[in-house]
C-alpha cells in the first residue's frame, strides 16, 4: 500500500507518494517489474487545475530522458512534461483519451500516464529526486505559490 508524505500550505494539502521517484517537473516514475510507470504528482495536478485534455506519446515512441512524454491542457494552463526515463513507451493509459480527469481524481493511481520500458533505469533514477527531496522542493514551490494568492 502506497504511503505518503503530506504537507498543508495555505488551505491546500499535498501528498507525495513515497514509493517512487520524481523529476523536477513533478513527473513521478514507479518501477514495476523492470518497467517504469509514470504520472503527475498531486502538487502538479492541483496547481495545474482540472485537466481538459491529455496527450500522451503513443506506444512505440522512443524517448530520451527529458523528452516530451505528455502534454496536458487544463482550465488554467497548457504544460509539456518531460520523460523521467529513457526508453520506449509500451503502454498508454486509455483513460487519458476519454477521462483525463483521472489525473485530478487519483494522480498516483488511476491517473497514471504511460508505462516505459527503460533502457538504463539505474542511470535515469540517479538523476531523479527521491520522495523526501521532491517533498522539500514541492513544499517550497507551494509556499511560493501561496505568496501570490
Amino acid at each position: 500500500m502506497t504511503e505518503f508524505l503530506k504537507t498543508t500550505v495555505d488551505k491546500f494539502t499535498f501528498r507525495v507518494a513515497t514509493d517512487r521517484y520524481y523529476n523536477d517537473q513533478g513527473v513521478w516514475a514507479l518501477e514495476e517489474a523492470g518497467r517504469v510507470r509514470i504520472g503527475l504528482s498531486d502538487f502538479v495536478q492541483q496547481r495545474s487545475g482540472d485537466v481538459a485534455f491529455a496527450e500522451i506519446k503513443p506506444a512505440g515512441t522512443v524517448l530520451a530522458f527529458g523528452d516530451e512524454a505528455a502534454a496536458i491542457e487544463t482550465i488554467k494552463v497548457n504544460i509539456i512534461f518531460g520523460s523521467p526515463a529513457t526508453g520506449k513507451v509500451v503502454e498508454v493509459n486509455p483513460a487519458m483519451h476519454d477521462a483525463p480527469e483521472a489525473i485530478n481524481q487519483d494522480p498516483y493511481g488511476e491517473g497514471w500516464l504511460a508505462v516505459i520500458e527503460p533502457s538504463d533505469w539505474a542511470a535515469d533514477r540517479a538523476r531523479l529526486l527521491d520522495p523526501q527531496a521532491y517533498f522539500v522542493r514541492m513544499r517550497a514551490e507551494a509556499e511560493e505559490e501561496a505568496k501570490k494568492l
Partner: protein, 144 residues
C-alpha cells in the same frame, strides 16, 4: 362542443449558472445562461442568479422549488448544483463547462471580464445544448 382539450402552458425551467467571478469557466457558464434565457428560450427558461440563492432570497428559492432546474457549473465544486438541491429544487440536468469544452475543443475560452471569441462560441454551444433540455422539460419530458 369542440372536443379540444385545454393545452397545458409550457413549464418554465430554472437556469442557475456558476457565480465564479474572476474565472474564465465561470464567465462561460454565465454567458451561456444569458444566451439561453435572453435569446434562445426567453419564454420557457428563467435565470436565477446563484448569489441570490446563497443569500437566501425568497423569490429565488421559490423559483427553484417550483420548477425543474438546469445548473451550469464552472468547476468541480459544483456550487450551482449544490445550492439548487439545498434549496429544495430538482436538478433535471447539470452541465459542467469543462465537459462541454471537451466536446468543443476548437472553442478554447480565454478572458475573464470579457470572453474571447472562442469562449463566446463555447458559451453559445452550451446554451444550445441546454435549450434542447429546456424544450424537453417545458413540454413535460424527462431528461436525465
Amino acid at each position: 362542443m369542440s372536443g379540444h382539450g385545454q393545452s397545458k402552458p409550457p413549464q418554465r425551467v430554472v437556469i442557475v449558472p456558476c457565480s465564479g467571478i474572476g474565472k474564465t469557466y465561470g464567465t462561460v457558464s454565465r454567458e451561456a445562461a444569458y444566451d439561453l434565457t435572453e435569446d434562445l428560450r426567453p419564454e420557457t427558461a428563467q435565470l436565477v442568479p446563484l448569489s441570490l440563492l446563497v443569500l437566501g432570497n425568497e423569490a429565488a428559492r421559490e423559483a427553484v422549488a417550483a420548477g425543474p432546474a438546469i445548473t451550469i457549473d464552472g468547476c468541480k465544486l459544483a456550487c450551482a448544483t449544490k445550492m439548487v438541491k439545498e434549496n429544495g429544487g430538482k436538478v433535471a440536468r447539470d452541465f459542467a463547462v469543462l465537459d462541454v469544452y471537451r466536446r468543443y475543443r476548437q472553442f478554447k475560452p480565454q478572458g475573464i471580464a470579457e470572453l474571447n471569441e472562442e469562449g463566446g462560441r463555447l458559451a453559445r454551444a452550451l446554451a444550445e445544448e441546454a435549450a434542447r433540455v429546456v424544450d424537453d422539460l417545458s413540454t413535460g419530458g424527462q431528461h436525465g
